[in-house]
């Protein structure tokens, strides 16, 4: 019930023109107040910075091979050492990270959005919309995702990674959409949704203004999990030689290669594995704080 003094002061200032803060600003404000969220966000930003700005600092590019140094430990010349092929670990790891970060985040956002929209429409309209959408969801669930991705892998070569992201996302949304659908069915009976209906708000607007925001906590958590899932799927696909195709690299293919030499040349494995772990951890921290930020009933930071 009590609101922190800052907020009260903020409100007092706004009495004259009651411009209530938009939902986005409130969520952003609450997110930035949580320590966990700030750490996660900083880590993630750092990872992006490293992945995209890092290569300019290094002397080598990911296609370069140093024929004078095969499988060398970290040194002034090669900061994170070299691979068996003479490639610079620093350069290839960052290149792999670029791919993994983009693939992971994009696939997760697309997958979760798809889940929310499909589930909410199916649950809100019921009837034939529900039947056909549920049928599609069930169909997608029984398809062997990994196998299809493996078969389609030749298509992903030559910079076709956006297609890869899309296909990856297509296999990420089904379970969540089923949860969203059942939550929508119960949410639909809630009085505030009925109130909106009796006010004349159109069904599509109700879905986007009332139904989906009320599931934002679930969706935030789901998106977080999907980031890890997408990165890991991509990693495991690349590990088996599908997914990102050479000469391009991803964290997955690097880990796959590095695993063979991990025992006697740990630098080939630990840098890429460590960065993967830090990325997934950062995303999880962000997701957790986002969930709390979305939920106005959650105990607020600073209280």
């Amino acid at each position: 019930m009590t609101i922190s003094d800052e907020e009260l002061a903020e409100q007092r200032a706004g009495i004259d023109r009651i411009k209530a803060p938009s939902r986005l600003r409130v969520v952003a404000g609450r997110f930035s107040r949580s320590v966990q969220g700030r750490i996660g966000f900083a880590l993630l930003a750092l990872m992006f910075l490293l992945a995209f700005a890092g290569p300019y600092l290094g002397r080598w590019t990911y296609t370069d091979k140093d024929f004078m140094a095969f499988l060398q430990p970290p040194s002034a010349e090669h900061w994170w050492g070299t691979l068996q092929t003479g490639a610079d670990v620093y350069a290839v790891t960052l290149r792999g990270m670029q791919k993994s970060l983009i693939v992971g985040l994009l696939a997760a956002v697309i997958g979760t959005t798809l889940a929310a929209v499909v589930g909410a429409f199916a649950g809100y309209f019921m009837g034939w919309a529900d039947r056909s959408l549920t049928w599609i969801t069930d169909l997608m669930l029984v398809l062997p995702a990994f196998l299809i991705l493996a078969i389609m892998s030749p298509l992903f070569a030559e910079g076709q990674w956006p297609l890869f992201v899309l296909v990856l996302a297509l296999f990420l949304w089904m379970v969540t959409s089923k949860i969203v659908r059942s939550m929508t069915i119960s949410l639909k009976e809630r009085e505030f949704i009925q109130a909106a209906r009796f006010m004349g708000v159109s069904p599509v607007r109700i879905i986007f203004r009332h139904v989906i925001p009320n599931m934002s906590s679930l969706l935030a958590v789901d998106a977080t999990l999907n980031v890890s899932a997408a990165i890991l799927t991509e990693t495991s696909l690349s590990y088996f030689g599908f997914g990102i195709q050479p000469p391009d690299v991803s964290l997955g293919s690097l880990i796959a290669d590095g695993a063979k030499t991990a025992v006697y040349a740990p630098w080939t494995f630990w840098f890429c594995a460590g960065l993967l772990i830090v990325t997934v951890l950062a995303v999880n921290l962000v997701g957790d704080s986002l969930r709390d930020a979305f939920d106005p009933t959650a105990k607020r930071a600073g209280q």
Partner: protein, 718 residues
């Protein structure tokens, strides 16, 4: 004064109870009970220094609003609080200290010497065991009897609490019982071991009024049989007035007034109790005078003011009130205690609640029903000359009852609404009342949906809903708005108040809703600074005001109110009712007011329609229906409602209905009420045959008064 006579008549009515109560030692003695949740600065002091004692055969009522600590008190007595609750003080049961006793000792007492009846009878019974077995279990825990004996005792107990055909019903599962029957079963369990004390925590709050009357009757019978002392915890001042000997009023975790029921009701010495009494809408008093709400909200138990916790809301507060919390001190007649600095002054001056709470326009509240109401209603044209805002004719809604998973087939029909007709004119309030399951919510939804009904017609502002285009429907949505029962559920928890009120405006194409929102927030008595907050930052009454502001945003002409005050505390409820009444007069609104609380309807409505099982039983002007009800159901309904007036309560004749509402899937033939009708039993065979065969239609009897009963006759029941 008239009250004195009533009191004397009242004390004369039950001399036995008082005599016995004075002689015996208390069976339950609670002294200085303190309950604190948590520690440090965030600690919530839920109960602060509650003391009371009950003697055998005595009924003590504990009254308070939600959050006043009344339920926590009883849980503390039973030792049922979670471990993180810090309890101090003393609870003596038959002289033995049970606070802090071991679990083993407590278990020996619970159910045997002290038992409890909870509010929600569904969650108080295990769903997977038969009701009889559960009662038998309660018997066998404390008595050495065989299974058969226990089962026989269970049937006896069910019979005692008035469950028909007890031997057979004992084999039923809890979900096969109706709410009233479940509560009877819970009472049967509570008295299974002949306890000395029965704690009843809001035993009738979840029940309909006619069922509430039955259950209160059962409690009285149970008390007679066992001679137990009863502690009746409730928020309903009417229930307390009719069935207890002494009252303890709680506020902010403390008792603020204690005394015999007559002392507390007729010689109130604490402003809070006065406020409670003045804010209850009364069945025996017509509308006209606005209710007297208590301003403000109860303090948060984690941030109590240093002085009297009621001081911020008290109309007669003096500087001394804010300094220290007043102790509970004797005032007036023996046994009457009040915690107020000015209690002595009130005693000496003999102030009445109305004098303390200046109602503004209304005079003293004791004028009684015969005085012409002093009010500010605007002059209205006669009813016939005003426009019809809503007209419902022969509305029918049947739900199919389907069975089977693969091949769904229709096995029956639920007659939710079965041909009802009424109309609402401009600036008029129609109250639609009835018990749960009578079809009032279905009627409401049918009207709000604005689609073609299954049968009959609905015309909103002259437009037949069956022939609406999408554009017209949108235009009518503007003119007809709704306020829901649960203010928290009807406001999107993810939106700020600003966005909530802006929604209808934006939907109907108003670009800059800012100024209008500020106006609306002021109109419903909130602060414009509240716009940036979320609904959960508000109290119940404030939330309902937000809901009303949203409904008023588009300047509608008809407001549909679905139990708008039933989720609110009495003192808050009064404020919302006054607001609704004020808005109606200022903005020229018409209301369709759906409620189960007949007292509220009497206060706010101009006309009332009583529904029973999908049909209208009686419809007409509020004064006529309430003062001279003609349908036996209306008579029973009105007589079942407890009045917050002990004298009147004792002298009233209560018409108890038997049994529960029949299933709407198979309504009785002919008159639907005949299975429970007290009048039906007094008729001879030919007349009874008429009730069975012929369905009564609403007949006009007198000016604007219609009754659907073949044998309607007037009866004074209030």
């Amino acid at each position: 004064m008239r009250e004195c006579d009533e009191r004397q008549a009242g004390t004369g009515a039950r001399p036995g109870t008082n005599g016995r109560a004075d002689l015996a030692d208390p069976v339950l003695e609670v002294t200085d009970l303190d309950v604190t949740f948590g520690s440090g600065p965030d600690a919530v002091r839920a109960v602060r220094g509650v003391s009371y004692a009950v003697r055998p055969g005595e009924v003590l009522g504990i009254v308070g609003e939600s959050g006043s600590g009344k339920s926590v008190t009883s849980l503390a007595v039973m030792g049922l609080l979670p471990p993180h609750a810090h309890v101090t003080g003393s609870v003596r049961l038959r002289g033995q200290e049970i606070l802090g006793a071991t679990e083993k000792t407590l278990t020996a007492f619970r159910g045997k010497t002290i038992s409890m009846v909870f509010q929600d009878p569904l969650s108080a019974l295990t769903p997977v065991y038969r009701v009889g077995d559960q009662i038998a279990e309660a018997v066998r825990i404390h008595q050495k009897v065989t299974g058969q004996q226990a089962a026989r005792r269970a049937v006896e107990l069910l019979d005692l609490v008035g469950i028909p055909n007890a031997a057979q019903r004992a084999k039923a599962f809890p979900h096969e019982f109706s709410g009233g029957m479940r509560q009877r079963a819970v009472i049967a369990m509570a008295i299974a071991n002949d306890p000395d004390v029965i704690l009843c925590d809001e035993p009738t709050t979840a029940l309909d009024v006619t069922i509430q009357a039955q259950v209160l009757e059962v409690l009285k019978r149970a008390q007679r049989e066992t001679g137990a002392a009863i502690v009746l915890i409730t928020h309903d001042l009417g229930v307390v007035a009719g069935s207890v000997d002494r009252v303890l009023v709680m506020y902010a975790g403390r008792p603020v007034e204690v005394g015999s029921v007559d002392d507390v009701y007729y010689r109130v010495r604490m402003p809070y109790t006065m406020g409670l009494l003045a804010s209850v809408p009364r069945l025996d008093r017509g509308g006209g005078q606005p209710l007297v709400p208590i301003e403000g909200n109860p303090p948060s138990p984690s941030a109590l003011p240093p002085g009297c916790p009621f001081e911020p809301r008290c109309p007669i507060a003096v500087p001394a009130c804010a300094e220290a919390e007043p102790a509970l001190e004797p005032v007036g007649s023996p046994g009457h205690l009040a915690a107020c600095v000015r209690a002595g002054e009130i005693e000496a001056e003999g102030w009445s609640p109305a004098q303390v709470y200046h109602a503004g326009t209304g005079g003293p509240d004791e004028q009684g029903p015969e005085t012409p109401p002093v009010h500010l209603r605007p002059v209205r044209l006669p009813r016939d000359e005003r426009d019809v805002v809503l007209e419902v004719k022969d509305l029918t809604k049947h739900h199919p009852l389907m069975k089977g998973a693969l091949f769904r087939r229709r096995v029956g029909t639920v007659h939710a609404v079965d041909g009802i007709s009424f109309d609402i004119r401009r600036m008029e309030t129609l109250g639609l009342v009835g018990e749960s399951g009578c079809g009032k919510t279905t009627t409401l939804m049918e009207i709000l949906q604005l689609t073609r009904p299954q049968h009959g017609t609905i015309a909103v502002l002259g437009h037949d809903t069956a022939r609406l285009t999408a554009r017209e429907r949108m235009a009518i949505r503007r003119d007809m708005q709704v306020v829901f029962q649960d203010p928290l559920a009807s406001l999107d928890p993810r939106m700020t108040v600003y966005d909530i009120i802006a929604e209808p405006l934006r939907t109907h194409g108003i670009r800059d809703p800012g100024p209008r929102i500020r106006e609306l927030i002021r109109l419903v008595g909130l602060d414009a600074a509240h716009a940036a907050r979320y609904p959960q930052d508000f109290s119940g009454g404030q939330r309902q005001r937000i809901g009303i502001a949203r409904a008023l945003a588009l300047e509608p002409r008809l407001l549909v109110l679905d139990e708008p005050v039933s989720a609110l505390d009495v003192s808050i409820q009064a404020g919302v009712i006054n607001l609704l009444e004020d808005l109606k007069n200022r903005l020229g609104l018409s209301y369709l007011f759906v409620a189960h609380d007949l007292a509220v309807v009497r206060h706010i409505a101009d006309r009332v329609a009583v529904m029973y099982l999908g049909k209208i039983a009686e419809i007409g002007q509020v004064g006529q229906v309430y003062d001279a009800p003609m349908h036996p159901y209306t008579q029973a309904l009105l007589s079942a409602i407890p009045l917050p007036d002990p004298g009147k309560e004792r002298s009233r004749r209560r018409i108890l209905l038997e049994g529960d509402l029949p299933s709407p899937a198979s309504p009785p033939s002919g008159c639907r009420f005949r299975t429970r009708c007290p009048k039906f039993k007094t008729l001879d065979e030919t007349d009874q045959a008429r009730c069975v065969d012929e369905e009564p239609q609403v007949r006009r009897l007198g000016e604007d008064h219609g009754v659907s009963c073949h044998f309607a006759e007037k009866l004074d029941v209030v």
